[in-house]
Amino acid sequence: MPDTADILRLESLQVHFPIQGGLFDHVLGRPAGAVRAVDGIDLNIGRGEIVALVGESGSGKTTVGRVITKLAQPTGGRMLFEGRDMTSVQGSSALRPYRHRVQMIFQDAYQALNPRHTVFDVVAEPLRSLRLVGNASQLTERVSEALASAGLNPPGDFFARFPHELSGGQRQRVVIAGALAVRPGLIVADEPVSMLDVSIRAQILQVLVALRDKHNMALLFITHDLPLAWLIADKIAVLYLGKLVEIGSADDITFNPRHPYTVALRNATPQVGANAGRAELRGLQGEVPSAARVPKGCRFHPRCPLAFDRCKQEEPPAIEVGPQHMSACWLAA
């Protein structure tokens, strides 16, 4: 029986990209290998649940989001939406109901907007193509409402603008409005507020939380910002080089992190206080991780301050460290 308490389930999800080496490698017939962007992850999102996906740049967060929104095809594992296996469903008509239920707010607002479409058309396009509104006045109403929720006021002033006539944060809010307008059951929001000041950011977060409270919308909130994840999410999942290394409640991950990488992330998070001044610069030692060369054993071991022999040999499984709290670290075994 499919478990429909969860709106989305990812099972051993894997996305590997072939590396296209330089012409040189090609001529020599050198095997170019693969970028293991997502390397076997299990994650459930409940209805109305807000899950934050955090992790280092290049750890695979966007790739997970692109799989969920059917913009990237997994090379392994399964994806179930409301109990239905969506892994190999393809084609625009087969996907139309799904696209109505699942929307993505893209990370790069500059790339996400068609430069030749006005703000109105950008937000109206999914409403038209998914046939969600009956007539023109309904359409205008839905578009206005979405722009206003995203903090673009008065909405009418933005209708006729083109993306290049907007600031970075205004573009980001147009992308947000486009996803909100559809009223989906799940939004994958990829760094949705990275270009917004703290005040507008707070406003957008309130809108997202209100959608969950009122319409039981689920949210996968991708961010590299741990305090922000704590602020908005029920659950936080920490990704490192394509693997989930820790999952737990927002409070557990923030105040009681168990995986050494999460601890490093938390310790590196700066505080802005009255006596801020210039803090010591923080960082992790060790070579830069690369999804094209995933280390053997625990993939964090070359940078882990606590690594011991076993970490270099065997990959740690997900180990339960508390209720609804797991860490993939031999120290938890």
Partner: protein, 335 residues
């Protein structure tokens, strides 16, 4: 500030700069009378609401304004010489080798059909006269400096993550050893650990080579960590300018104060989100007087009618009627 400031002109001197955008043929002011100076080795943060004119300021300084923009007032001087900021062709020799920009929206700024290693090496050949081999070696070194393994250099921009593209942009900005880097949200897509690495790199270049930085960011912790000074923009104007320590400890402008109060902080143990009430001002219909007055908790009658000028106050500058020079002795009290 220091006595040497009288002897030598600042590296960059922005004087009364105003820029208008034509929207449907009607000019509207995006930045108004922006003035500040930047010294070699100095790092200044530029902070403010979305749409307040930060990118416009940066683009004006780099001579990269969009076609519908017009510099309506003011000038920009570099080492005492006026820059031809409204003439793209005359700015070309200056750009990248003297002033370089890390653009907001990295994907837009990268060429989608070229491998990233080539995009970093190219300016080294053009501007520094390096051979292809030398330039490629430098590009590999720059990639490693920003935390991307050099063997990923053969990737195309779409094969990189958002944060990796942003770091490629930083590598490109560093390529020709400029004196000034303007970073427009250069680390927004980066996690704290990668970000710390980049900020450390920029800090080293500042102390070693006297690199000056203008850092546009919404992340006040980045400002706190790596800037000497911070300027706060609101609706196209600088409303406050001061040292980082002073602004965080004792913000003067009511907008700055609310901005700092709305930073979330898990240590405080409460899940509270507090946006600044009211809507951001609109480019087309800017409020009269002080543009912040409709949202300001300390608003007075004069605020709706008179634009407060950016005046010296203490060791910084502030544009707010609470701090007018006539009232300088009765220093405004803040909650």
């Amino acid at each position: 500030m220091t006595s040497s400031s009288q002897e030598k002109p600042p590296l960059l001197d922005v004087k009364g700069l105003s820029v208008d955008y034509g929207l449907k043929g009607v000019p509207s002011r995006a930045i108004d009378s922006v003035s500040f100076a930047l010294r070699a080795g100095e790092a200044v943060g530029l902070v403010g609401e979305s749409g307040s004119g930060k990118t416009t300021t940066a683009m004006a300084i780099a001579g990269l304004l969009s076609p519908n923009a017009r510099v309506s007032k003011g000038e920009v001087r570099y080492r005492g010489e006026q820059l031809p900021i409204d003439d793209d062709a005359s700015m070309r020799p200056h750009r990248w080798s003297e002033t370089s920009v890390v653009f907001q929206g990295a994907m837009n700024a990268l060429n989608p059909v070229h491998r990233i290693i080539k995009q970093i090496a190219e300016p080294c050949m053009l501007k520094l006269g390096m051979s292809r081999g030398e330039a490629t070696a430098r590009a590999r070194e720059l990639l490693e400096l920003v935390g991307i393994p050099a063997d990923r250099g053969s990737a195309y921009p779409h094969e990189l993550s958002g944060g990796m593209r942003q770091r490629v942009m930083i590598a490109m900005a560093l390529a020709c050893r400029p004196s000034i880097i303007i970073g427009d949200e250069p680390t927004t897509a980066l996690d704290v650990i990668t970000q710390a690495q980049i900020l450390k790199l920029l800090g080293e270049l500042r102390s070693r080579l006297g690199l000056a930085l203008i850092l546009i960011t919404h992340d006040l912790s980045v400002v706190a960590e790596c800037c000497d000074r911070v300027m706060i923009m609101y609706a196209g104007r600088i409303v406050e300018d001061g040292t980082v320590a002073e602004i965080f400890a004792q913000p003067k402008h009511p907008y700055t104060r609310l901005l700092i109060e709305s930073i979330p902080n898990p240590a405080s143990g409460k899940k509270m989100i507090r946006p600044i009430p009211g809507d951001p001002p609109n480019l087309v219909n800017r409020p009269s007087g002080c543009a912040f007055h409709p949202r300001c908790p300390s608003v007075m009658a004069v605020c709706a009618t008179e634009v407060p000028s950016l005046d010296q106050f203490g060791r910084g500058r502030v544009a707010c009627h609470l701090y007018r020079s006539s009232q300088e002795d009765k220093v405004a009290v803040h909650a």
